[in-house]
Amino acid sequence: MFNIPPHSFYAMLVVLGLLLTASTSRLILARRKPDKDYTELRQRIQSWWWMIGILFVCLVISPTAAIILFAFISFLALKEFFSIVPTRQADRRVLFWAYVSIPIQYYLVSIGWYGMFIIFIPVYVFLLLPMRMVLIGETKGFIHSAGTIHWAVMLTVFCISHIAYLLVLPIENPEAGSIGLVIFLLFMTQFNDVCQYIWGKLLGKHKIIPKVSPNKTWEGFLGGVLTIALVSGFLGPYLTPLTFRFSLLAGLLISCSGFIGDVVISSLKRDLEIKDSGTLIPGHGGILDRCDSLMFTSPLFFHFLYYVNY
């Protein structure tokens, strides 16, 4: 049952080690400066333990368990999207069908039917939802609604399901297995957020898009891109079937698209004048706040890998 490929196993140990380091540093920090409030930092790290814990347990149990987990994440993200973005009361039943696309899409993943997986949402759901809207017959705000609903399903179901599809691809690097691909993508995406933040804090001067995110700088972005490309270059051959060169490119892709995903969701929140998309993950905000970069990196990384190796 628990035959984890060795490279993936070591990668998991390293991630848990990093978490342990974070927790210990937090404790030391709290002891050194007892008068400072570290509640948010504590919540953030605790939530990381939960998220990574749940992910690893599902990955270890079986690919099916992990696919169900990603389906559930899609559900939470779609629900959060529909909750914060205004939709018409008349669209309730359309939204219901949008939710129904989740089990179907992830079923297609689980049976590995690539041709259908890749067109189900962009073609069938895309055409069916407006038809359901027409049957309801409310034309006021029709265009706005049709656009919002399909965008939501694309981002939260279609994009996120690409992570799950990594698990059913034929295994080309048996030392890492399919778990290696998922860990590589998730780790590089989250590590990219961290790197861009740290480089921005250290050197940040020139604002990159002040209207959307006043804290994002060119220095942070470029520092992140270079770091991620390098780390990815060395980590890629270990965890994925990609060679050093292609891993480097994958890193570039993940870093740039992660940045874009981050600012796209930021603009959405700015438009709605809210700070966080929810309160599901203490210290982080909502699930969209956590998955923002991932929604962009997953399909791009997936298709890069698919083009190069399959």
């Binding site: 559900f75 959060e80 529909f82 909750s83 914060i84 009361q89 709605l272 929810g278 309160t279 599901l280």
Partner: protein, 213 residues
Amino acid sequence: MDRLLKILFFAVIVRPIVFIVLGLNLRGKQNLPQQGPAMIAANHNSHLDTLVLMSLYPLSKLHRVRPVAAADYFLKNRFLSWFALNCIGIIPISRAGRQRKAELFAGCHQALDQGDILILFPEGSRGNPEELSEIKRGIYHIVHDRTDTRVTPVMMHGLGRALPRGEALLVPFNCDVIIGNELPEAETAEQLVNGIKESFLELQKYCITCRQV
């Protein structure tokens, strides 16, 4: 036995619906009254309102939380009335207005005397989804001669989209539950009604599910 039934109903059916199918953006949880006698005044959009508010309490305290509900609706047939009285534990109240006040609110006073926490929807009925209706004065007649009971306002948003009046299909949505500070004791009915209305509008500012583009 009733207590067990209630706990089972909430643990197996209500809580999974409230926390997984729906989902709460909860703020001000520390303001939720933990000890009775106390009164929660919430806005009303959906049948889910009651279930959400009751889910905020641990299962062990559930039997102390009593929603005040319309007798004409919830006692209209045998099954519904068995369900409302035993699985939810409502305090039925007549909306017909023919009874005297003392008689009308006897059930509420009895529950408050026992140290229960009452949930009351001062708008009276669910009304149009996500719109505030006029606040009725009944709540004042319950609390005004009690020195032990304060009113805590709660604003909810989003449940009227998940399950509005007259719909049977539940559609998942996150909803906001914002719990305000206890209201000060009111001298007159107007004062209390206005106090509730003001705090609803104030709490509404913290809702994140009602933005307009």
